[in-house]
Point group: D2
Chain length 255, copies 4
């Protein structure tokens, strides 16, 4: 049996004079790049560069859509009207698509960012607004999100391909939801442990939940981070562990 | 002999709570809508609405691209690096295209806005940056601009379809350039006079330049304004004069 | 017995090319101007003009502080961290103060705007964040807000002068809270009725609540609107009714 | 004879999620902090922190005022109308002043940033606009700028205290102007050489100009950079050289 999994990460999250993360290093690690679209981060110069680099590296480009909130980096819930949120998402999709096309490829999927990602786990109206944007923009475009979320449920109901993700460095409850960042142990830091967990996820083996019991996650994609030098090192470690064990790494959404 | 001409105007130039102009009235007058793309005006809700209304009215959608300058409404020259300007234009093109596609149509042309329009009459590097953006984004996309400008010359050299425009309400020098807005008489206000001049332009007759001599303009498109009630009335008068004389009104860039 | 009341309204809510409301007309009506500080509306040119006009008219200048949200005009709840909200408010206070000083006066009070106003009726952490900003900036600065709100309660506890406002054109429940805008009859439109209610409020007489029963409001300030021609006419009617009945109009916070 | 000089540097130039430079390290080096005011960088949380740290360290706070251009970090000339530029500067001064006051101190001087700094070397109208802003805001507030600039000349004519600065790491022409950054050798990188030049400047000795001839600069303040780890090391080296030679370091503008 051959296992395959996708690795995704956030890229293009600088703005103007400001940089964040190491996009080039990550493009050697991941198979899918969640590219910021300008609403929480990402200016047009960055979008251009990341799209070209991703295309050259064979990394799938996804739209990392966000609330309009540069000052808050998209990390603050905004009680935006659903109709407005739909248009905000369409706008970002189109802007990124232009750069993907110029780079000879396309936007392959959508992954909401930050506070929007978290909000539409349970906020039905905003989840519907994002789903509507994707359906109107491109009815076959996959969406990447949290298993069990209102967003993925509604997306599936609307006929969108749905891609479930797991987080490489986060602790899980026994129900398979994320342990809150405010709880101790919510974020894992040991590269070996993180790599082993990712290998388990990718090969259909259980991981340990926060209470030490077995938990089976079957993600289509695993999210790694790259916004610190340590995070890039962990992401590389995850990739090495997976490829060393014969797990194929491939974008879930290929051209 | 059948004459035809295009009427273009700026639409979608509100932002959030703020409105500007009467988009609906203008869509009954013009054949091409220069839609603001979010950098000087135009939020995603407005882009959505204007694209849908334009599509329903059979009005061609053009991208009114601008410097990134909401506070200045794109009316201030910004000494942006050409590479960055190219990406700013690509970004705006993509964003508007998304709404045009959702409305069942496409972006049919590009018309730079405000200070950018004026700058690339003579600023070769910025003109080249805009041309490069259009060529990279869509090499057959027409550009609308000032006859004699560096922008139209470079666009033609790059193989882009070039559309020359004249202004319904502006005085012209004997060389066919615009009289500076700072000079007396630069802007015409009499609806009858404006309408007669437009009819002359559309039928191959000369108009009077600022010194009263005959001047022959052969515009492919005539720009009318709509940001005041008086401007809308003049635009209607122009349309009535043209259609009353048997001049066909049609977008230069049809689907 | 001599009655006196303050009339307040929102001013300076344009931005760049966009205008909103009739600031000059309102300055002949109100005694306190809630001046937008740039986060939901109001650019520096507008702040300058409104402060000078208010100073010349003897109208007290208040800081209409908001979430940072130009696109949403400050009408969307933003889940900003309290520490950050405090600094956002201090920033806006200082910016407006500069123009008030240049105009020969000072910022006399603080009135939160839009979604922030509504949020801190019940959101204790954000209410505390705004109170902290005012206390740190100027511990004797009055705050204007909704009677019964967490904001006014915390402000009073912190030693800030507290000014209770009523709305000229809103229906009230029997508990003295506002009828939700989503309910029919929430907003009054009849100028005569509105003016009579304001006179009652100012002279210690009860008004009719939404169910027709008597309700006694004792506002220190009455809020009138000016963002439409109709609203300005109503505001003028209110002022005429009050002055005609001998009610003195005066800012609650004089120099 | 006792020599004294001021060291200034740009601080607070992050925004939201993005950081830039090492503010805390620089506060141990410089005597004057040019604090970004939000138009090119610097959000309210950053302004708060930097003002408190500067006040605690006895470092004078200056307003690093800029064109409104977050995307371009204030490094692009913007052809803003003088009246508007004046208000933009007043707005920034007031915003920073609020945080300086909360930290128990005041804004002690004004230093224009980036493209504005460069523009008002020769752009008389914009120079006048900045001078007007300072005079209106606080007629005794010192301004820091380039010797020989239109800005400093106009500021002196307007009665403002004028502070001439030199750059620690820049080559100078024989006329005492900066060698263009586009020329080879325009920026010095050797810490020892830079430190020696600064000592010479501070003690009234000549430095070598770009052609090797002696050039006497008499700066009131020397500008050091801190936006890279290497820059901070050089800044520390400059301070050590100056203090080691008995040069007193003190803000030119004390409380």
């Amino acid at each position: 049996m051959i296992c395959a999994v996708d690795l995704n990460s956030d890229l293009g999250e600088g703005f103007g004079r400001w940089t964040l993360g190491d996009d080039e290093a990550l493009l050697d690690v991941v198979t899918s790049a969640n590219v910021a679209c300008g609403f929480h981060a990402g200016d047009p110069v960055i979008l251009r560069r990341v799209c070209e680099q991703a295309a050259a590296a064979g990394v799938a480009i996804g739209a990392q859509v966000s609330y309009r909130d540069l000052a808050g980096f998209g990390r603050r819930f905004v009680d935006v009207e659903p109709h407005e949120l739909t248009q905000d998402v369409v706008y970002q999709l189109g802007a990124l698509e232009a750069f993907a096309r110029v780079a000879g490829t396309r936007v392959r999927y959508v992954k909401p960012h930050g506070a929007l990602y978290n909000a539409i786990v349970g906020h039905e109206e905003q989840a519907a607004a994002v789903v509507r944007a994707v359906v109107e923009y491109s009815p076959g475009l996959p969406v990447l999100g949290l298993p069990g979320s209102a967003f993925l449920r509604q997306a599936a109901d609307a006929g969108l391909p749905v891609v479930a993700e797991a987080f490489a460095d986060r602790a899980y409850t026994s129900e398979g939801t994320l342990v809150s960042r405010r709880s101790p142990g919510a974020v894992l830091h040991d590269a070996d442990e993180i790599a082993r967990r990712c290998l388990a996820m990718a090969t259909g083996e259980p991981i340990a939940d926060a209470s030490g019991r077995s938990l089976l996650l079957r993600p289509d994609s695993i999210c790694v981070h790259g916004d610190t030098p340590g995070a890039v090192a962990i992401a590389r470690r995850v990739r090495a562990e997976l490829t060393g064990a014969g797990v194929a790494l491939a974008p879930f959404a290929a051209g």
